[in-house]
Structures are given as C-alpha cells and as structure tokens.
C-alpha cells in the first residue's frame, strides 16, 4: 500500500531536471557538443532516478494536510484535506516513467547524431514533452492536471512544427487550434467539480463526494463528466478527433513520434483512471468510454489499411492501439484495467520498435512510401528482422508482449459478458498484421526495382549525401526487442507493477 512519506525526494527531480535541461539546451542553441553532453547525461540521470526511487508522495511547498477535527499533519496515513499540490509516485508511475526515460535517452541520443545544426530548441522541447507526461501521470490534483494538459498539447505542436516541412507546420497549427478545446473542456469540468466539492485534490474530491449526498446537484456531475470526456478525447486523439493526432504522428520525425505517442498514451491512462475513479458510479459512464474506445480502434485500423506510406500506416495504427488501451480501462474491472495498463506498456514498446525502423528507412533517402523505396532487406537484414519482430508483437503473436496484454483484454471482455468486444479486439490485431505487412513487404522484402533508386546508407555521408544509420539506433532496437520478448515470456514482471493500481482504482478510488 501507500508509503506515508510526503516529501519523497525523487518526484521534484523528475520534473525539474528536464525543465532545467530544456532551458539550458535552448539557450545553447547551436553548440552541438555541449548540447549532446548535457542532454544525454541528463536523460541517463532521469532513468537512474526513476529506477531507484522508492514510492511515496510529494507535497509541493511543504504545506500540511488539514485534519478535519482540527490540527495539521505531514503524514499521508492520517485522513486530512490536502493544502499542497500532491504528486504520487507508485508502481504504475514507476514502470511508465522508467520506460519513458529509456525512450527519451535513446531519442535524444539518436537526434543529436542525425540532425543538422541548431537542434538545441528541439532537444529542449523533447525534454519538456517528457516533463509534461511525467506531470500528468504523477499528479493527484485537478488544477495541476489541467495545466499539465495545456502544457503538453502546446509541446506536441512545438515538436511537430520543428520538423519544418509545410505539412508538419499545418498539422501543428491545426492541433494547437483544436487542443485548445481540450484545455477548455477540462477547465470547465474542473470548475464544476470545484464548485461541487471545494477540493482540487482528486482524492479529497472523491472522498467528499462519497461522504456527502450531492442530491439535486448530480446533474452538474454529468456535465463535468461530459467535459472531462471531451478533454480526454482531444488529449489522447480518440475518435472522432483522430485525424488531428494522426496528422501529428505522421508529420513529426519518427524518432519524435516515439515520445509523442508515449506522452499521448500516458495522458490516456492517467486521465482515464481519473475519470474512472471519479465517475465510475455514474450510470452509462463506462459505456460511453467503451463506445469511444471501440470506434477509435476500428476507425484507426481501417485508415491504416488505406495508407501507402509507412509513416502514415504507423500513425493510424498508434491511434487504433490507443483504443485498445482505453477499452481495457473502460471495462472498469480489475482485469480490464490491468489489461489496459499492460497494453499501454506494450504498445509504447512495440510502436517504438516500428517507429525506429521507420526512422532508419528515412535515412535511405527515398522517403517511406511503398512506391518510392524497396529492397531494403538485402542491404540491411538486421533492420528487416527488427521490423518483422515489431510487427509480430503489434499483431499480438506469441511469444511477444502484445500477445499477453491482448489475451488479458479478451479475457476481461469475456468476463464482463461482452464477447463482441473480444471479437473486435481479435479483428483489430489481425488487421494490424495485414496493414503492417503491406508496408513491410513493399519496403523491405520486395526485390529492388530498377526504376527505383535505392540508396545504401554508408558511413561516408559526405560523398553519398545520405545519413548513415547510427549504431545507437540498432542498440535501441536490440534493447526494445529484448524487453518485448522478456515481457512476452514473463508478463508478471510488468503485471506486478500494475495489479495494485487496478485494485486501488476499483476498490478504494480515493487512494491515488
């Protein structure tokens, strides 16, 4: 259960170190070597902190909790209304932040290798993206959650716009415009809940609602629920706003998309759990969430089938698999939530494998469309192996990690008496396989066409004008494939981290 510590040392560092790093690298702007050193050492520090940190709370600014009978306390064990902003670092937070830190380290390493000058700002934005996701997954306060969502959506736009092509500028502008709705929806929801309960701390608000009959005010709760769902949809890119998010995924560089999709999944998980904790008592709440998730899953995978560019196939598949994550959470049972959370972990990993392969294809210099490039298998067999493993994991084929979480999800759906959902999950994984292998066959396996110029990336970038595939990319692929196989064989390694969270959400929703 919870540790009573309210001054856990690691939480502020996980937020402040990336912020200071971002400020510093933005200031350095074009001093490549300094940026490289600072960014890489900072991302490795974050990984180390996330790994060794114990669990507990952080009450920022050290204001105490107010004991209802009078007096103040600094222990989380005693029932008290929180005066401070509260963050919680528990097992769910640990596994997600560790994975995100690992990905951040790889992405930073790769981008400092392959980008031309002036990448200080870009690296800074990547670090801030990490911060926003860390805030959203750790925070236990509505007001701060809102700030985190605003901060996060602005950063998504920044990271996408940084790739400088007209398509990405357009996607960024569109996303900024509409994501303002996400923030606004959340602000209204926050205002209503604050009006109803008077507490911006989520645990306190839930406690207040369960202790006090809201009576005739429950209509307000429905409106708050509606706005929070709206915000959830926009923030996570669920249907019907999926084109906005898929544009973002497709228009950013694939290495940046790794962090973008991680952030988006963390938002979905964090906000989804908060919605469940607050509103699971409302009739239809879970059904609404489930309907949105199922539509997202199906729309995403159908759109993915229609794409002819590997980048865009992946963009739509990420959307579709976000639906898989939220299906589990929407089921609202312990098994469903465990499945959803595990799916989020696995999804982040296998999508990162596929995106890294897509990034490598980009370095061959002929784009990522299935019409413009082919025959990579001959010049780069290792890459081909990696992309096939990634595709198998995404399609839920044993012994890889995707299989385990989809199995749990299907069992959870059947356990709830919803065989339709189970069938749709199966269908999505089969269609994922088809969509991916269309691209993989054309780009990697099909023999090189004479009319298509296939560049072989070489170490000597100046003569060919092509960027070599950096070795660290292969290292990243190896590590991620290793994790995918380990989680596929021993799913309990991850499930041990997720069980407790799921139990708490269902049985003691006021405990973060």
């Amino acid at each position: 259960m919870n540790e009573p510590i309210t001054n856990l040392w690691s939480i502020p560092l996980l937020i402040v170190i990336p912020i200071l790093t971002a400020i510093l690298v933005n200031l350095l702007y074009n001093k490549a070597n300094a940026i490289k050193t600072i960014a890489i050492s900072s991302s490795i520090t974050l990984l180390a902190i996330a790994l060794i940190s114990p669990f507990g709370f952080q009450w920022f600014t050290g204001q105490p909790g107010v004991i209802p009978g009078g007096g103040y306390t600094f222990s989380a064990d005693i029932f008290a209304w929180r005066l401070s902003l509260e963050y919680y670092y528990g097992s769910l937070q640990q596994i997600l932040i560790v994975i995100m830190s690992l990905l951040l380290a790889f992405v930073v390493f790769i981008s400092t290798r392959v980008l031309k000058k002036n990448f200080g700002t870009y690296i800074g934005l990547l670090f801030l993206l990490y911060t926003s996701a860390a805030i959203i997954i750790m925070v236990n306060d509505f007001y701060h959650l809102w700030i985190g969502v605003e901060f996060g959506s602005l950063l998504v736009a920044g990271v996408v716009a940084a790739s400088g092509e007209s398509i990405s500028q357009k996607a960024a502008l569109k996303y900024t415009f509409f994501s303002a709705l996400s923030g606004a929806g959340m602000a209204i929801s926050l205002a209503l809940i604050l009006g109803l309960t008077g507490y911006s701390n989520i645990s306190d608000a839930i406690r207040f609602m369960s202790n006090n009959q809201l009576g005739g005010m429950s209509g307000v709760l429905y409106v708050a629920f509606g706005f929070l769902i709206l915000s959830w949809i926009y923030a996570g890119g669920l249907a019907p706003t999926h084109p906005l998010k898929s544009d973002v995924y497709g228009a950013a560089y694939p290495h940046a998309t790794i962090l973008l999709q991680t952030q988006s999944k963390l938002m979905l998980v964090a906000m989804g759990l908060i919605i469940l904790r607050l509103f699971s008592g409302l009739p239809f709440a879970k059904e609404v969430m489930l309907a949105i998730s199922v539509i997202t899953m199906m729309l995403g995978v159908v759109m993915a089938l229609l794409q002819t560019d590997f980048r865009w196939t992946l963009a739509y598949l990420i959307i579709s698999h976000s639906g898989l994550v939220t299906v589990g959470i929407s089921l609202g049972t312990v098994a469903g939530i465990i499945g959803g959370l595990f799916q989020a972990v696995n999804d982040i990993i296998y999508m990162s494998i596929l995106l890294l392969c897509c990034e490598a294809v980009l370095y061959f210099g002929s784009g990522t469309s299935i019409r413009s490039i082919s025959g990579i298998a001959k010049s780069s067999p290792w890459l081909t192996g990696a992309v096939i493993v990634g595709a198998l994991a995404a399609s839920g084929i044993p012994p890889l990690n995707g299989f385990q979480s989809e199995l749990i999800l299907i069992q959870a759906a059947l356990g709830q008496g919803l065989p339709e959902i189970a069938v749709i999950i199966l269908m999505v994984s089969v269609t994922t396989f088809i969509a991916l292998f269309k691209s993989i066959y054309s780009i990697f396996l099909r023999p090189a066409d004479q009319t298509i110029i296939v560049g072989k990336p070489s170490a000597d970038a100046t003569t060919t004008g092509l960027s070599p595939v950096p070795k660290v990319l292969f290292l990243a692929l190896a590590v991620l494939i290793g994790i995918a196989i380990i989680l596929g064989v021993y799913p309990n390694l991850a499930l041990n981290f997720l069980n407790e969270t799921a139990m708490k959400v269902v049985y003691v929703p006021w405990v973060p």
């Binding site: 309210t6 510093l24 600014t61 050290g62 700002t121 701060h144 602005l154 500028q169 209503l192």
Partner: protein, 286 residues
C-alpha cells in the same frame, strides 16, 4: 479552417453541439448558484496572511506555487513555439533532401508617419512605464500585482517603442537578450525551490517565511542561515494595538522577479519576431 466548411451538414452538427454545450454549462452554473462548496478555501485564507500581507501573493506563489511554476512554463513554451514556427530551431535530418523554410516577410512599420509629438514623448513614456513595471514587481508581496503584471507592463513599453520608433526602438532589447532573459527567469523560479528542497525535501518550501518547521511531525529542519538569507531582507512589521507582528514573504519576491523576467522575455520575443521575422544571422547584418 475556412468559413465555407461550416455550410451544410457540418455546420448543423457544429451548431447542435454548441447549443448542447451552452445548455449544459448554463444549467450547471444555475445549479451551482448559491450552492458552491467552500471546501479547502477557508483554510487557505486562514494561513495566507502569515507570509505576505497580500493573500493573493501567498496563494499564487506559495500555497500553489508549483502550479504557477508550470504555468510560467506554458508562457515560456508558448514563446519558444511561436518563434519556432517562424524559423528559430527548425531541424533537418542530415541528408540529400533540402526544403528551405518559407522566407518570412517582416511586417513593415512606417515610423515616419508618426506625429512629432509622439516621438518627443515616446522615450519619457517608455522610461516611466518601465519604472512602473519595476515598482509593481518589487511590491509583489504587499500589493495586488506581481511578476506577470510587471512582465506585461514592461513588454508593453517595448511594444510602444516599436510602434513609435520602428527598428530604432530606444528600449533596444535584442533577440539574444530576450531569449536569455526568458530562460533566466524560468530557471530562477525553478531554482527558488532548491533551498527548501535541500533542507526539508519539500520542493519550494518557503524557507524565508518558514511557517511549519517548528510544527510537530514536520520532517527535516530549516537551518538558521537559510531563514536569515531568504527571510530577513523581506521582513515587514505590522503595528497594531495588540502589538507588533512580524512576517516575511521569504522566497515569494524572488520568485516574482523570475516570473517577471520570464514574461518580459517571452512576450518581447513574440513581439519582436512577429514584427521582423526570424533569421539566424546576427543582429545588424542583412
């Protein structure tokens, strides 16, 4: 999005959605009218005056100080992203494909047409506005204003200079200066949390005001030296019939300075870049 897209079925859907949203919000606010739960807010009122004579300063920069830190970040990121959209920090993968970013045309001020009287009073007005901004930020703990307001006031002085004098703005804040100011501002705000963190492991614990370290059950202790360094310079005395009461806003005034720098940097940069565009060349070169 163009207005033409809103004709037909789409427009009807948008209209219906808007009506539903408005009805929902209106209904909720009517329901809440007079029934708002006060929750934790009386407790904030009870504690706020112990730090700063101005309750607002205590709430915004201490009780909920970390919220404000991330909000400051929203402003900083807003500036960085706006400037990025105009060219600063766009990245390219090393490779053969080259698509030059679209050249930015700068908005053309015509300062020659400004009446002579404006030119004569421009500089005094700018200097007085800057002084006013500095007054606001130094009174942050006691008056209603603070870092945000100071930043907005000083950047409006900058905008005034730009509008009257064009490129020969007397308040001559350059690109590098503004970026540096914004970064230093946010970093200062962040680092204000460090003394409290080192002493008590609570980030941004107000070591100058130090309300809680003598309370039973408080983990950690605040050394005398920190209390002196951060508390004494801002100590105020409240003289009443009942006696003289001392309070110190502690780190709140310093946080406000950081906040002000951040806002000046961010807004100034947005004004500068939207008026003249961005180029990686040094200032003065063409």
């Amino acid at each position: 999005m163009e207005m033409g897209e809103l004709k037909g079925a789409r427009g009807i859907v948008a209209l219906v959605a808007l009506v539903i949203i408005f009805a929902g919000v209106l209904f909720s606010f009517l329901q809440l009218n007079g029934n708002v739960a006060r929750g934790i807010s009386p407790e904030y009122n009870r504690l706020a005056y112990l730090e700063a004579p101005n309750n607002l300063a205590s709430w915004v920069y201490d009780l909920r100080g970390f919220d404000t830190f991330i909000e400051t970040g929203v402003i900083y990121v807003g500036a960085v992203v706006s400037v990025l959209a105009l060219g600063r920090g766009i990245v390219k993968v090393k490779g053969p494909r080259e698509e030059e970013p679209v050249p930015q045309t700068s908005f053309d001020f015509k300062p020659d047409t400004v009446p002579i009287i404006l030119k004569y009073f421009g500089l005094p007005a700018i200097m007085l506005i800057v002084s006013y901004g500095l007054l606001i930020v130094t009174g942050a703990a006691t008056s209603g204003g603070g870092g945000f307001q100071c930043g907005v006031i000083i950047s409006s002085a900058y905008l005034l200079g730009m509008a009257i004098y064009g490129k020969s703005n007397p308040l001559n804040l350059g690109k590098k200066f503004l970026i540096g100011l914004g970064s230093i501002g946010w970093a200062t705000y962040g680092l204000c949390g460090l003394p409290g963190y080192l002493a008590t492991h609570y980030w941004q614990y107000n070591v100058g005001a130090d309300l809680w370290s003598s309370y039973p059950g408080f983990p950690g202790a605040v050394p005398e030296i920190l209390r002196t360094v951060f508390g004494d310079p801002f100590r105020l005395a409240l003289v009443l019939k009942e006696g003289t009461f001392y309070s110190s806003a502690g780190i709140v005034p310093i946080i406000n300075l950081g906040e002000a720098f951040n806002v000046i940097g961010a807004l100034g940069l947005i004004f500068l870049v939207f008026a003249y565009g961005w180029s990686d060349r040094k200032e003065g070169e063409t």
